[in-house]
């Protein structure tokens, strides 16, 4: 197993006194696809936002590549720029598909035309480069969002229910791109999903989150074939777990 890229220790996030994330310890390894599964409201998305340093924890800390960030620490821009998130609902700029894909590069003062073309082709939208991004279908918009995230070559790609509400064609396409990105470029990927089958298809390791807590973390085959916690077993069987 490679070095941990994230080490989470006693991480807690509260909103108006309600604890939404409470994780004692979690390590995410460089180059792996780690899936977090669980029902809605389990705190998965909040965890992802903290991993992207979009939210600060109420207590505890995240060690990212050896640097510790807690509730008071300002996260330097160069650290923040190593991770990016593709959200469930793609938020695209009122601009062309190409300009949307190039957006992250422009924020960094780069043009990277060749890379933009490469990633447009990878998501199968090279023919739509000049089209208005906000007029695409849901699946196409999510592919633009994925290309926009990948073109900046992030060290960590965070995926928050990236294929929820998409048709099987787009789900398959996005999963292929994610798998290839991990395999060929070694990008660490953290996938949040309530779709256990997707976690099974993509992830090297899987964690179950319930009410803000991590119930079980193990490699994918153990998680699905021989879970150690009864709630994990129930969840992978498709039973209602709270």
């Amino acid at each position: 197993m490679s070095e941990p890229i994230y080490q989470i220790e006693n991480l807690k996030k509260e909103y108006t006194g309600r604890v939404v994330v409470d994780i004692e310890r979690l390590e995410i390894y460089a180059g792996e696809i780690f899936a977090v599964v669980g029902p809605s409201g389990a705190g998965k998305s909040t965890l992802l936002r903290m991993l992207n340093f979009l939210e600060t924890p109420t207590s505890g800390h995240i060690v990212y590549r050896g640097r510790t960030f807690g509730k008071n620490g300002d996260v330097p821009l160069e650290v923040r720029r190593q991770a990016t998130t593709v959200f469930q609902r793609p938020v695209l700029l009122r601009a062309s598909v190409r300009d949307n894909v190039a957006y992250g590069l422009r924020l960094r003062g780069e043009r990277g035309d060749g890379r933009v073309d490469e990633f447009l082709a990878r998501v199968g939208l090279d023919a739509f480069a000049r089209a208005s991004a906000t007029k695409l279908s849901g699946g196409e918009m999510q592919r633009v969002a994925l290309a926009r995230a990948l073109v900046i070559e992030p060290t960590v790609l965070l995926l928050d229910e990236p294929t929820a509400n998409l048709d099987p064609y787009n789900v398959g396409l996005i999963e292929d791109i994610v798998r290839e990105q991990n395999r060929t470029r070694g990008t660490t990927i953290v996938l949040v999903t309530h779709n256990v089958f997707q976690a099974k298809r993509l992830a090297h390791r899987v964690g179950l989150m319930l009410s803000g807590r991590l119930i079980e973390v193990s490699d994918t085959s153990s998680f699905f074939d021989s879970p150690s916690d009864a709630r994990t077993a129930a969840f992978v069987r498709g039973e209602m777990v709270y």
Binding site: R49, T85, V91, L107, I152
Partner: protein, 229 residues
């Protein structure tokens, strides 16, 4: 009706022959309203955007004041500016009363709440997820703010055009503080009032046509910027 038709054709003639009196009035109107709009935009867009993005407790009060300002009767603004700039007023030493500077001040007071208030509303209408998304892509605070402003460009352009429409067509304030002095403070609206009173309907209609044309051009420009034409 004959008067109107005759006046309309004379107006066309005045416009086509580039009548100096007509163009002097048009130029002064554009200069006064243009400067007032530039000042209102420079102040109103950043302030409106800041209010739209802020979570300050006093935002509700500021918003209420701004919306009140959007409905200010121009003649009341004129009266206020007149009193401020009159010899006995606190800014009397500037000697701005009955000059184009006084008209600009009055028009800024009218246009600023429109530009700031509509900008604020436009910024508030932006999807909050956009800010999170651009931050996630590595935007700095300023880049994040710029992204929001770019997304609201349609609303901001509408705010600026509304401000222009509000001042180019108002008569009460500029009449009071400018005095409608020929060659100095006579603008389109005050000239229409004067020429109507003196029976110079052709010039009044010509000025009216120009005023309508300016409003039309401003709206076409807005639609073009919005990318809807």
């Amino acid at each position: 009706m004959d008067e109107l038709t005759r006046g309309f054709f004379q107006a066309i003639n005045l416009i086509l022959s580039a009548d100096p009196a007509l163009f002097e009035i048009v130029w002064l109107s554009l200069r006064v309203s243009g400067v007032a709009l530039a000042i209102s935009t420079t102040l109103g867009v950043p302030i409106g955007a800041a209010l739209g993005l802020s979570r300050l407790r006093v935002r509700g009060l500021v918003t209420a004041l701004l919306y009140t300002g959007m409905g200010l009767p121009p003649v009341v603004v004129g009266l206020f500016v007149y009193l401020m700039l009159s010899r006995s007023g606190p800014f009397g030493m500037l000697s701005w009363l009955f000059t184009s500077s006084a008209m600009i001040v009055a028009q800024v007071i009218i246009a600023f709440p429109l530009v700031a208030g509509l900008t604020m509303a436009a910024v508030q209408s932006v999807d909050p997820a956009l800010r999170v998304q651009v931050r996630s892509l590595g935007a700095t605070r300023w880049q994040e703010l710029w992204a929001v402003l770019c997304e609201t460009r349609i609303g901001i352009v509408a705010a600026i055009v509304a401000g222009f429409g509000g001042i180019i067509s108002e008569v009460g304030a500029v009449m009071l503080v400018g005095g409608n002095i020929e060659g100095k403070t006579r603008v389109l609206t005050t000239a229409i009032v004067l020429n109507t009173r003196t029976g110079e309907f052709a010039l009044a209609i010509a000025l009216g046509v120009v005023l309508l044309a300016l409003a039309f051009v401003a709206n076409v420009a807005m639609l073009r910027l919005q990318g809807r034409t």
